[in-house]
């Protein structure tokens, strides 16, 4: 690959010694991208932008936040009231977490629908699941920082899960807490890790992008790019499309930040943490509710914890669980139906997770949990073998060309 000729002399001088401009030219400008990507392909770049927004707002919050059980709650209120535009920074960070999960969950379901995890993109997918796990850890620890009632009790309930591990469980919990209950040492280490993990996510995202650029994006048809007629340069085509998508996203985001900033939050978290008062319902943030439902669906604590972690870990092996030969659900009429059943199943799990575990919620949670694992562990492998996919189009440009222009 020859270095492109840059017009600006300074750029040429730098690029000769440090080929960053060549790199950008290849990876952004020329980077060939299938011409038929739909708007579902916007969510990857959106996630990246939200990550940057989270890191930037987080750094400014950290300038005013005090990680101590006696001051944390007040320091947050000080940010809300006395720091210039502190309310804006905090509401962006607080709701940015929720929007990050919305975007990434859509991104993951996009992958499941279009079979984006299939060869040769297995590692790309696996790195994605690693990112999801890192995000979950980051969000969980971030939620503890304001030291409200839900911060404290959520942290207590979730860290206590590790006590289900036989023999060493209690020891692990004490070690995690740095004491005999969730207290100042816990808050301090959560703060430290909450600052660290986003940068690990950045690292994982870079690997994610490296793996992506090896074979390029998949596409709604799930067939490979056959030649130059199937692809277009990323810039300006997808930069323009991503920018428009970003605009739509920002409208939704700003709508919540400015007009319903506590929509995703629990009012209880505006009550200072009190180890002596247990709130009537302890619920995690909405994006953890499906896992919480799976945890509580199983009467045995250890098995519940295993199922909860298993529900995410199963994603790691999805590339091998799915035995179908075609990628896209567009050509898999049966799988396509079950895909939507899975989406509904996850929403039901979230609904169950938000409610106290009694009455019909218990049964519903158990059925939904069983179905979740059934989908991945049984349906995916079996359906891939027995389902007859629809005929695939010849190439990406064949179906998008007007009939009159014909196919070369």
């Amino acid at each position: 690959m020859a270095a492109p000729a840059f017009k600006n002399a300074l750029v040429r001088w730098i690029d000769h010694r440090l080929p960053v401009f060549t790199f950008l030219q290849h990876e952004l400008h020329e980077y060939p991208t299938p011409k038929n990507l739909s708007y579902w392909w916007n969510f990857g770049s959106l996630a990246g932008i939200v990550l940057v927004v989270m890191i930037l707002t987080g750094i400014f919050l950290a300038m005013h936040y005090t990680p101590h059980t006696a001051f944390a709650f007040d320091s947050i209120e000080r940010i809300m009231r006395d720091v210039n535009y502190g309310w804006l920074i905090r509401y962006i960070h607080m709701n940015g977490g929720s929007f990050f999960f919305i975007v990434v969950y859509i991104h993951i379901f996009r992958g499941l629908y279009y079979g984006s995890y299939k060869a040769p993109r297995e590692l790309l997918w696996i790195i994605g699941v690693v990112i999801l796990l890192l995000m979950m850890a980051t969000a969980f620890m971030g939620y503890v920082l304001p030291w409200g009632q839900m911060s404290f009790w959520g942290a207590t309930v979730i860290t206590n899960l590790f006590s289900a591990i036989p023999l060493i469980g209690d020891g692990i919990v004490t070690w995690l807490w740095g004491g005999f209950s969730v207290d100042n040492p816990t808050l301090n280490r959560f703060y430290s890790l909450h600052y660290l993990l986003p940068f690990l996510i950045v690292g994982a995202v870079l690997l994610h992008l490296m793996a992506l650029h090896r074979f390029g994006s998949s596409n709604p048809l799930g067939i490979d790019v056959k030649g130059p007629q199937d692809s277009i340069p990323f810039h300006p085509f997808y930069t323009a499309k991503d920018a428009f998508g970003l605009g739509i996203f920002l409208i939704a985001f700003a709508g919540v930040v400015f007009f319903a900033p506590n929509l995703f939050g629990e009012p209880d978290n505006y009550i200072r943490a009190d180890p002596l008062v247990t709130p009537p319902h302890i619920v995690p943030e909405w994006y953890f509710l499906p896992y919480y439902a799976i945890l509580r669906a199983i009467p045995n604590k250890l098995l519940g914890v295993i199922a909860m972690f298993g529900s995410i870990l199963v994603l790691f092996i999805v590339p091998w669980l799915d035995t179908a030969r075609v990628r896209s659900a567009k050509f898999r009429p049966t799988y396509r139906k079950f895909f939507w059943v899975l989406v509904v199943d996850c929403v039901v799990l979230g609904y169950v997770g938000a409610n106290p575990p009694d009455g019909w919620f218990i049964v519903t949670g158990q059925v939904a949990t069983a179905y979740y694992f059934f989908h991945f562990l049984i349906l995916m492998p079996v359906l891939g073998l027995v389902e007859r996919p629809l005929p695939l189009p010849h190439s990406i440009s064949a179906p998008v060309l007007k009939p009159a222009e014909g196919k070369a």
């Binding site: 011409k35 007040d74 209120e77 809300m80 009231r81 309310w87 804006l88 509401y91 277009i232 300006p236 085509f237 323009a240 499309k241 920018a243 428009f244 970003l246 605009g247 739509i248 920002l250 409208i251 700003a254 709508g255 930040v257 400015f258 007009f259 900033p261 506590n262 929509l263 009012p267 209880d268 505006y270 009550i271 200072r272 009537p280 619920v283 909405w286 509710l289 939507w340 989406v343 509904v344 929403v347 039901v348 979230g350 609904y351 938000a354 409610n355 998008v400």
Partner: protein, 250 residues
Amino acid sequence: MRRLISAAALLLALATAAEAATGPKPSAQHWSFSGIFGTFDRAALQRGFQVYKENCAACHAALMLSYRDLRGIGYQEDDVKAIAAEAKVMDGPNDAGEMFERPGRPSDKFARPFANDKAARAANNGAFPVDLSMVAKARVAGPDYVYALLTGYGPAPAGMTVVDGMAYNAYFPGNQIAMPAPLNPDGVAYQDGTKMTVEQQAKDVVTFLTWASEPTLEARKQMGVKVLLFLIVFTGILYAAKRKVWAAVH
């Protein structure tokens, strides 16, 4: 698309179900501060402050508020100084090493009615009068709930016995509350001729408490309108740009 919509509807149901609490649902009031263009009614804020000061501050602290914050509800610098000076604040140690009392200053936090939480409980039958500066945000449907609570006193329904020292309240979880009905008709003397009904006082004090829980609410909404207008126009331009760029592809 239909599936998407029904999924969204389910999510919405989920959000509301999570909010379902015990007791009757407080009915939604009309508040000056709700809606996209909502602002606090200044007169209601000042009346609400009066109700708070005369009827609630004897039991409840408002930990997050300083006297200087009252500039935000329309008081002038001198008014704030005078209000602050009514409070006695423990300060020190002075050069002789002694603590001393002095009149409050605008930079002081609102004076607390009790020296500590234990003293507050001791004076209230063991129940803790919560911090009022956050309560409008710290309850589901905060302003509607506090309004319902303040106007929800009355005789207990037949068959229910209310423990000694407790009052019946239709909206408090468990229906027995350690706070005696704090509002009475004509309990405060409004200067501006507003009717001094319990409902009016409740409405005013809740307006004040909502401001207290988020003094930046107006700034937030005003900025939000501008940001949204900008984003809508800008996204329109981005859409046009996208169409133009892609015209060659289709």
